[in-house]
């Protein structure tokens, strides 16, 4: 087992070195299928739990299922979908709804930058990047951190698009399942399904943490998150990210310009 692990680490390092040589050139679209297959993984399962929960939420709000499924396809970021569903069901003005949804989506910007900076290649048309970005949200960022090191640079953007297409299709089905299954599950089971989300995100962050800055960012996010939630409930995650992440960067960044 440990030899396998070391082999994995060496391959990871090789892939990272390869990164710099491989940053120019065309994409290899045969990786589309490999990406689609990765939808069947632990992060995919965790995502399924969240979307079953979203289906249950639609049911409990007496909203049409079709609306929820269409937001899966057109919004594809669960916090935004929940805010949108909630606002629409309360009949709030469209501009207010759009603004609230947009606030929840600001967090997607750093995630798109992080994922694409490791995936894109120079010398190509940019449309594949715009498509790949369409799919990127928190879980796909974590999945890219976990799995994209094993994908050669030329295959990464196609891999992301394949993964995204497979996840959107699967999650639409899980939304439908959640809509109809809700209420049929015993409570301890139902609540455990919801608990998959914080469990997975915490362990994925811890598991993916390398340098000291990552650990600081995790610790500060955990501590500051509840505080910002009390003071700015609408902007809590964004505020915690900027304050906690900014502080982690300031405290742990490599000293001096010569080492940067």
């Amino acid at each position: 087992m440990s030899a396998e692990h070391e082999q994995g680490v060496r391959e990871g390092e090789a892939a990272r070195e390869e990164d710099f040589e491989e940053r120019r050139g065309p994409y290899d679209w045969s990786w589309l299928i490999m990406g689609a297959r990765k939808a069947a993984s632990l992060p995919g399962l965790v995502m399924a739990m969240s979307f079953i929960g979203f289906g249950a939420l639609l049911h409990s709000m007496n909203l049409p299922l079709a609306f929820g499924v269409v937001t899966d396809v057109f919004v594809w970021a669960l916090p935004g979908q929940v805010v949108m569903t909630d606002n629409v069901s309360r009949g709030l003005p469209l501009l207010v709804t759009a603004f609230a949804v947009s606030l929840t989506a600001v967090r997607l910007l750093p995630m798109v930058v992080l994922v694409l900076s490791r995936a894109r290649r120079e010398g190509n048309a940019r449309w594949p990047e715009y498509i790949a970005a369409y799919f990127i949200a928190a879980t796909i960022w974590v999945m890219a951190e976990m799995f994209m090191g094993q994908v050669p640079r030329r295959g990464r953007v196609p891999w992301l698009i394949g993964l995204g297409c497979a996840l959107i299709s699967a999650m639409s089905l899980f939304t439908i399942a959640g809509f109809y299954l809700t209420g049929m599950m015993p409570k301890p089971l139902a609540v455990t399904l919801v608990f998959f989300t914080p469990s997975f995100f915490l362990l994925a962050l811890v598991g993916g943490a390398g340098p000291r800055m990552d650990w600081l960012a995790i610790a500060l996010g955990l501590v500051i998150g509840p505080l910002t939630h009390l003071y700015w409930p609408r902007l809590d995650l964004l505020a915690a990210g900027i304050i906690g992440g900014g502080a982690a960067f300031a405290l742990a960044r490599p000293a001096g310009r010569s080492t940067a």
Binding site: P64, L65, A66, V101, M111, V191, F195, L202, G245, F249
Partner: protein, 117 residues
């Protein structure tokens, strides 16, 4: 498709407008990300900052779900949520730093605690 409609449900063409607004409101940030990524040197410290912000943001999401849960999770006790996560972190540290089995331990402990309480 579904016969259920809330009283305030927008009819007819409003559907399309609502969805288009949701799409634009969300995608604009992804689109800005694509514009930005071309301008950032992959080796620049700016990316470290972006990574720290994303990491802290997701950690804050975890903390919010643990300390201020909504919906079903709000009906469980804070002690069971913390105990389960503690077991998962212990499993990660002592069990070879693997994410999947640690998540399995976390949710299994949580499930057992819910059955007992």
């Amino acid at each position: 498709m579904s016969g259920m409609h809330a009283a305030s449900w927008p009819g007819g063409g409003m559907w399309i407008t609502v969805l288009a607004a949701g799409l634009a409101a969300t995608y604009v940030w992804r689109w800005l990300g694509v514009l930005l990524v071309k301008r950032i040197d992959p080796r620049s410290p700016a990316l470290l900052l972006v990574r720290a912000v994303a990491t802290a943001l997701v950690a804050a999401l975890v903390a919010r779900m643990v300390f201020f849960p909504s919906g079903l999770l709000a009906q469980t006790s804070l002690a069971t949520r913390l105990a389960a996560l503690g077991c998962g972190l212990a499993m990660w540290r002592l069990g070879g730093r693997k994410v999947e089995p640690s998540v399995a331990v976390t949710v299994a402990v949580f499930f057992i605690l819910q059955l007992l309480s």
